[in-house]
Subunit: 428 residues, 2 copies
């Protein structure tokens, strides 16, 4: 972002105060990691009952299958798929449950597409020249890392506050080399924004140059509300089918931030053709997913109300941390135009846009003060933020007092970095 | 195999008796599945204590890490790697533990190799023309299925009873397009044979046309003894390193037939370069493996003695089933030269070579009698047994009485099919 310039004397005073506060901050000897959207121990405790499940002697799935053994449905336990039907916005026939990582499902879909081609396509994605994915920015670094790993070109598309700029998207997808698009449609990582119905309708119905264009719809925060206002989004699977593009959407979710980050379930919902294709590919890779862990989730969560109830408890633990960030930023930066930050209604992140050219400096200062932030640029393809402006703050893991201290520290670092930059600019 | 021909009258009488016995067999109305090497419920019961592990409140790994959460080592829990160090023949630094499938680790190594290339290689395996894998036969169908899926050409190499025919292997690997070789070195699937020290030394030290040639060493039955005689094999990792080919071997194993088929652990041991490369690749795919399941295994198995003790219990359940197969085959087929079958000292299979051109007929007859066998040819690349001779019998899952009944039935079907074929041959 660009900031209107304060008067020189004001700026000088502001920089001096920031320097003093920063020196005090450094002396405080903080050591706080705000890099990753990890659940806190208190959040993980909410699911501790799973640690003794399914229980000795209690290992049969509903159809009588022995979850301890090989085989069964490659798609996962039917009752587990039914459990997540509302979360996924799909019937259990259109859902596949893998092991502990939805990222792995996204990765594998891409790898299979590169080597084998997808339903509706005429060749493996890797058989022709380079292909391209659209990347709404700022976005999730691990999405971009998969593209980079496999030489998939990334084109950044600006987010608007209610999803990607669809005028840009609709123009870019006419190019046949564009085969995919990353989306985190709800409480997006990191901006927190939720795609509007109009945006989702346009994604479902837009014309694409490639017949086998896919939307990687990473609904990672579908039930991860932070307030009483529970954002809902339009059902991309339904809309795409209505628009004649049933195979376009690949809907992903996981329980990593519902039950256990290290021992959750990754999920995929998609058209019949996509699921059949993915099952056929995966069946070359493995005899099947860990069914015991799916049974554990069924026994623990029971039904959609069980999921919602658990998420309400998560919210109680998370909301105060987001409030602490908001309070610290508002206290120091409100009205300055040094920074603009998100006030998310859900998800795991606060996104901060500081004055252009200052993000790397803020991360560096924070590090000096013992506050670890993700490297600036991480939220952009190839880790390059053209404006050096965006910061991603992850307040979930540390205790609330630590989050408050870290947020105040980050605000000081922003104050320092931007005042410093504006002073330098003024001297040129 | 080829059978010396009995005299016509003998043969006629034999065929008549077999037909009578087959009719009786069909009336018995058996329904027995002998297709897959699955543990029986009684075997799975041995690990039921795992179903309540790690236990509520007991979720920390040795270094204090919280196994419930994201992150930690991509290689897996250090204590889990230490637990399997003897099984893998490698120190924990050279071991990686994934999720519930060692096949998935083999698959992923190949997929990464196709798309990215491997340490010591100069291009992705998929970048040049078709590559080739050597396939000792009969072998494991799922190995061959991965090759078929990705267009990797397969060349069959005969097994000798102590491993592949190394004169053939040493000649074939001089071709630079040969990049890999499948091996099940101990209690091989399905022949039950164990590779001799000499064979393993030759695999370790042979000259290959490709600098990035890899041996996929699927040691699936490393501790799966069926008798007091506990076969041991030479350490391919050590021998390859000594021979100047440290990156050649990829050693795989799993606990699917130690603890739970559906909820075990897949393992890889390899050189430092291979492990670092695989970790780098996998870290694009997932934040890490399911650490809780690794902790469960550590708490349950404790140490190598724990593994050996558990395997002794498996042996008690499995050995009588293999004895039942041996007894039924000996009773009916000994001295006939209609069939030759393995008497494995370990593993999960009995391999039967019937008179050439009769295997498909045996499977068909067995099916009529309610005994399900894997399709003939399944143990060969492209599912084509050039002699139509090999059958794979999996006696682990059904109860011992069922196994005995099935084995007697299969012996009748072999008798019938071979006598029928020899009679027909005689008439031509």
């Amino acid at each position: 972002m660009h900031s209107p310039r304060p008067r020189p004397t004001e700026l000088e005073a502001r920089l001096e105060r920031a320097k003093t506060d920063f020196a005090r901050l450094c002396r405080a000897g903080l050591k706080i990691d705000m890099t990753r959207g990890k659940p806190s121990p208190a959040q993980l405790d909410l699911s501790n009952a799973m640690l003794t499940l399914p229980g000795n002697g209690d290992f049969y799935q509903a159809d009588g299958g022995d979850t301890r053994n090989y085989f069964g449905s490659m798609q996962g336990l039917p009752e587990a798929r039914a459990l997540f039907a509302r979360v996924m916005g799909a019937s259990l026939e259109r859902i596949l449950i893998g092991n502990n990582s939805s990222l792995a499902l996204m990765h594998d879909y891409i790898v299979y597409a590169l080597l084998k081609g997808v339903p509706g396509g005429w060749a493996p994605w890797g058989a022709e020249g380079p292909i391209t994915f659209l990347c709404p920015v700022p976005g999730y670094d691990r999405h971009f890392a998969i593209c980079e790993e496999y030489g998939i070109q990334m084109v950044a598309v600006p987010l608007t506050g209610s999803g990607p700029d669809m005028d840009v998207v609709e123009r870019l997808v006419l190019e046949p080399s564009v085969r995919g698009m990353w989306c985190v449609p709800k409480y997006s990582n990191p901006t927190g924004e939720t795609y509007s119905d109009e945006v989702i309708q346009r994604i479902a119905s837009m014309s694409t140059g490639a017949a086998d264009f896919r939307v990687f719809w990473d609904n990672a925060y579908g039930v991860h509300h932070l307030t009483e206002h529970r954002s809902e989004i339009a059902n991309l699977l339904h809309l795409s089918q209505q628009a004649g593009h049933p195979d376009r959407p690949l809907v992903f979710a996981s329980t990593s931030k519902i039950t256990f980050g290290g021992g959750g379930l990754g999920l995929l919902a998609a058209s019949e053709a996509n699921i059949a294709w993915f099952v056929a590919r995966s069946s070359k890779r493995t005899i099947g997913p860990d069914k015991l862990n799916q049974l554990r989730h069924v026994r623990f969560l029971r039904d959609h109300n069980g999921i919602e109830g658990l998420m309400a408890q998560h919210r109680k633990l998370l909301a105060p941390k987001f409030k602490a960030v908001e309070a610290a930023f508002a206290r120091r930066l409100q009205g300055t135009n040094f920074a603009r930050w998100s006030k998310p209604l859900g998800g795991y992140f606060v996104s901060v846009d500081v004055h252009n050219g200052c993000a790397m400096r803020v991360v560096e200062l924070a590090k000096q003060a013992g506050i670890l932030l993700v490297p600036a640029g991480q939220t952009f393809p190839y880790r390059r933020d053209p404006n050096d402006s965006n910061l991603r703050i992850a307040p979930s893991f540390p205790e609330v007092e630590q989050v408050a201290a870290a947020a105040e520290g980050i605000a000081i670092c922003i104050d320092y970095a931007v005042a410093e930059r504006l002073s330098a600019d003024g001297k040129i």
